[in-house]
Every structure is written in C-alpha cells, then in structure tokens.
C-alpha cells in the first residue's frame, strides 16, 4: 500500500520524559517522523502539544494513532489530515549568499517572506509545501542555510 503523509497532534501532560516516550514509540516501532514540534500550550493545566508529520500506509497510520493513545500521559490524539478545516503552518529561516541578495529579495517578496536583516536571512511562515517551494527557489539563487520549525496544526472550528 502506498505511503500517505499525515499530520498528527498529541495533547500531553507536560511531564518529564513525555517527549522521549513519544519519540521512543516512533523509533521503537519503526515509524517515520518527517517533522516534530513541541511546546507547552496551557501552563495552568500543564499540557503541551506535540505535532508530528509522519508517513506510512493507512494501516500503519492507524496503528500510530492507537499506539499514541496508549501512552499514559497522552490526553488526546488528532489526525489533522482527516479532520476538515485544519490549518497547518510552518516557519522557516532561510539564508542566502551576499551575491544572491538582490535576486533573493525579489523572490522573497513574491512568496511573502520577510527580510530579517541586511545579511540575507529571510523568514517565511506558511503551509509546509509553500515553505518547500520557497526554499527551492532560494536554492536556485544561492542558498547557504535553512532552519525549519516543523509543522504546527490547529482546528479552524470555533469549538
């Protein structure tokens, strides 16, 4: 069966070792992690949200969700690829060589990226696919370094 890419989030207790549990689950069972982000989302409740972009056949994706739900400090798991009206965003910092700066500025403008300084660092927040095409465009011009945050996802519904 063909691999599918899915964005999952897990709402977890912000306790020692919780990220290691989730990451260990993926490595231990041979699942892919394409990107992973984690940060506390509710200091009062002590919860963090882990967003993972993973890929695999549908049966494996189903297993990943079930295995995540089994982790004791995991409150809830959402598959945003199935949820309607989810928003996925990622941020990237992209650096180009000095010589490429004029052309890069023009390209950045087209993508809606922001120049952060005169040294050639640009910031773009967008859907992951847009980020990838921005990076490819910059690569053609003289890319020297990239840093991506990985995907964060949230529901569009006002629940």
């Amino acid at each position: 069966m063909a691999n599918e890419r899915h964005t999952l989030t897990a709402l977890v207790d912000n306790e020692a070792g919780v990220l290691a549990r989730v990451v260990g689950l993926f490595s231990g069972r041979g699942y892919n992690i394409e990107s992973l982000t984690v940060a506390e989302v509710d200091p009062k409740a002590g919860t963090s949200r882990i967003t993972i972009v993973t890929s695999g056949p549908p049966q494996v994706i189903e297993q990943i969700e079930a295995q995540l739900r089994r982790v004791v400090p995991v409150h809830a798991v959402t598959n945003w690829t199935f949820a309607s009206g989810a928003i996925e965003r990622e941020m990237a910092l992209v650096k180009v060589s000095r010589g490429a700066l004029p052309a890069a500025k023009a390209a950045a403008e087209k993508f809606g990226a922001r120049a952060l300084d005169e040294g050639g660092v640009f910031e773009l927040t967008d859907a992951p696919a847009k980020i990838s095409s921005f990076i490819e465009a910059m690569r053609a011009l003289g890319l020297t370094d990239v840093s991506r945050t990985g995907v964060a996802a949230i529901s569009r519904d006002s629940d």
């Binding site: 070792g17 260990g24 189903e62 089994r70 004791v72």
Partner: protein, 603 residues
Amino acid sequence: MNTHTELADRSAAQETAKETAKETVSLTGAQMVVRALKDQGVTHIFGYPGGAVLPIYDALFADNGITHVLVRHEQGATHAAEGYARSTGKPGVVLVTSGPGATNAVTGLTDALMDSIPLVVLTGQVATHLIGTDAFQEADTVGITRACTKHNWLVKDVNELSRTLHEAFQIATQGRPGPVVVDIPKDVQFKTGEYFTPDQIRHRTFRPKTEPDQDVIARAVEMMAQAKRPILYTGGGIINAGPKASLALRELASLTGFPVTSTLMGLGAFPASSPQWLGMLGMHGTYEANNAMHDCDLMVCLGARFDDRVTGRIDLFSPGSKKIHLDIDASQINKIVRVDLPIVADAGRAISEMVKLWKAKGVKAQAIKEWWATIDGWRAKKSLAYQASDALIKPQYAIDRLYALTRGKDVYITTEVGQHQMWAAQRFKFEEPNRWMTSGGLGTMGYGLPAAVGVQMAHPGSLVIDIAGEASVQMTMQEMSTAVQYDLPIKIFILNNQYMGMVRQWQELLHGGRYSHSYSEALPDFVKLAEAFGCLGLRADKPKELDDKIRQMIESPKPVLFDCRVDPTENCYPMIPSGAAHNDMILSALSDAEVSDEGKMLV
C-alpha cells in the same frame, strides 16, 4: 473439585474492596513505600538490597506486615513476581537497587510487558543531586526502562511519592495489565513528606475502557448465530480478565456449541477435558486447531493478539472467515489482521454480555454438525502422537507420565522456553486459569525456575512444577538457593536432551543439520548440584524407572531437581514451518519439511 464454584469464590474475593484510611500523615519516603504497599494489599515482595534502597530495607526491617523474598539475582525477582502475579491475579511487586539492580530487572520487565503481567518494580536511584554525574551505581533507569514498561516515573519530590506509588498500582493493574517502574532517589527515601492513601489518589487521565458497546455485542451475537463453521480463538486476555472471564467463556462455549482453541498464554481458561476443546493453536498447535482456524467462516478472537507464532503466513491466514476481535487494548485491533468487528472491552465483561444477549434473544446456533464432523476428521490424524520407545525416555512420554502422576493434586506448572515448553503446552491438560505460567511473547529462557518460586510463595501447600530444559534452567539456576531459604518445595523437572532442543530442531530443518553451538559439551551433574544447594537430586535414564522417580519427586518435602535424560534427537511436532499457512503443517519427522527462503528469514 467443583471448578465453577471455586472460580466464582475467587472472583468474589478479588472484588472485595479494601478499607482505606482518610487521614494524611507525615512519613519518610522509605516509610511511605512500605505503607503504600500495605495500603495496596501487598503481602509479598521479591527483592535484593543495595546502597540506593537501604532506607527502604530499613523501613521493611521495622515492619513485619510484608514478607520479603530475597532472590539471588534481580532477574529472578522479576520472574518470581510474574509467577506470583499470574497465579494469583494480584500485581507482583519487586524491590531492587539502582544501577545493576535496575538493569538486571530489564528482562523481566520486558517479559511482563509482552505477556501483560501486572508488575510494580521499585528501583533505588542515586540521590537527586548526583543524578547525571555518573555516580556509583547510577543508571538512567527511567530511560532504560521506558521501552519495557507500561509507564515509569522518577520521583524527585517526597510529597509526590505516595501519589506516584498508588498511580503505579492503578496503571499496572487496570486496562491491559503491564509492568511499571518507580525510580526513587535515596535522598527522597530519607526526606519526610505527606502521605496520601489510595482512595485520595486518582490518575488525571488514565481511564481504560472496560465496558463493551451494546450495539457491538448485538452485532457479534448476530454474526455468531449465522456462523456455520465458527471457532473461538481465545488468549491470555481471558486469564488477565480474572476467573469470571473464564466462567463466561465456558458458558458461551456451552451455549453456542462452538469449538474452542487457545494461544499458549490462554491455556486453562477453557477446560482441556471438554469435548469442544481443540487444543492449542499456532506453530506447535494441533492439526485440528490450525485447520479449523484456516477453514472457519467466523473467527471469534477473545483476548488474543494474532501473534506471529499463531498466525503463520499472514496472507494465507484464515482466508474465508469473518473476524471478531475482542481486546481491552485498542492498539491490538487491525494491527496484524484486519477484522470485521472490533470490540474494545474487558474480556470478561464482553463475553458475559454476549452470553446475556444470546440467552435473552433465545438464539439458536446454526446446525454445525458438519463442521464438527470435519474437525473430527482432523482430530483423527492424532497430530500429537509420537514414536514410543522402551530404550530411551521420549520427552512426550515424560510429560504424559508427569501429568498422569500429578492427577488429584493441586498443581501449578511453570516452564522455561523451548521444546519442553511446547511439549508441556501440548500435553499437560489444564482445567482452570492461573495454573500455567510461561514466557510467551518474549520467550525468556530462565523464566520458569524463579516463576515457580513466586508461585510457590503464593500457594505454599500446592505442587509447583517447573517443566524445564537443561539449557534454560542454567540461566537462573541460582534461585534454587532462594527456594531452599524459604522452604519452597518447587520441583524442577528437566527434560535433559543436552541440546538447546528448539535451536537444534531449527538447525535440522532449516540449516542442513549444521548444529552450530547448540550442543552443551559440558553439563553439570544435576544431582550433585541439587545436593550442593540443599535440594533433592533425582535422575532417570530409562522409561521404566520414570514413574517411581516422579513419585519420589512429588513426595519429597524439599525442592527437587529432576534430571530426566530424554532422547536427544526428538523434535517437537506438529509444526507450522516459518512462512507457511495453518493448513500446511509438518505432522512428524516422516513428512517432507520444506521451508521457503522467505520463511527462513522469519524467526
């Protein structure tokens, strides 16, 4: 013995709620550990002292409410606790020190995780200010045990200790049972803090679903009512769900008239004396059980998990059947085999609901006479038959005699891992749950002897026998000394074929008879070894002396090491070779064993 009444009594006893105090008191961390264990109803712990748990051992010294069993190696403690848990339905508790104490417990933890055995393992840790400094006997215990526990904790604050301990018991025992580790730094054991009783503690989110959805039960009953070639494929989940679940299974089988098979872990949930019993299924299961699995039109999987030892080749697994899968752990559903109707619930609860609905609706099962006639045809192959011998003790004969001579006794069986384990599973007939303790998922050689120690501790008056192999038993042999110290008259019945028998069998079938390092050139004199430990040593070489020696073993008040010298070349049949389907079994040494190249890749 009236099995039903006894099972009912035991399940009632398990449900009796404990009385718990409401007050909070100030205690040291070490005192809290002892208090929490008592509040959780713990009467026995298996452990080994060391620097990082000395305060807890001091608290145990001051208290005589808990029996501590001093093992000889921490792995022994974990398997003893597993045996204790499996034979009583209560969690097994282990206390070990930091560093090597904790790492030695890893095999037992993994074993318990694979077989869903509730264990609470308490490990000492170096003082909090030393963590991360490569201190003496420091190991990253929560890091090392993360992958082999259901959950684990490092407790850095004494005021969190009692909460963590009570949560540890909840998580180990509720839902799908499993092992947990609580790692307690030495300074936390000395500090004083507030103690909370179990009734004051409830985990924030952990609420396993145990009640089945009624519409799913109704759908299951409908499917069962329609089936023409049904089978009940039962597993360890029924044992874990308590004696009530075994009773419910018996009732369901008797209402429906369906044939019943079981995994290695589920033996005893359904009585082997029943005419509906097909024997164990899987790689060394019976011909009738495996063929019935292959040809059925409805498979009702109750508390089993489609393990690779059970399914054989997966794309040829029971191709024509609809499948119902009952499991308390949702992650088991559709993991290996896609099923038509998942039921996520406690096995006992779900089966009881099926029984209730079946009766309420007055369902009449399809006439499955033809199906039974087909099954009887398979049974006629007598797939467990073997070539008898007057000269050599056949291992099958030894198990048969052991079974015959222990009738009428209150018997618990543990095993090691390998051929002897499969022969025991095939031939020793269990009538009740919790009587059979074996390492199924992990396949841990060395499990059986310490497990027998744990079982005997829980059942002092019973006959506890470890059916062993001479290779396995040497892995945890030192626990003989524990058995002697606590007057535990366990019987270690070694089927000694001088080989790692299952390895030898695979080398014969798959590797051209090249017996690479599977023969033990040097073996101890087990009789003298037994005597050195303070046990009784017995040896049998000839079939005709076997009965007397077995009787001598049973009658001895001491732990016994029985060196039963068996035919070294005997193979365990029937067998589904790796990579083959259920209906493609090798019945005996005489049949052609053909293993595909893909099959050779599998273990």
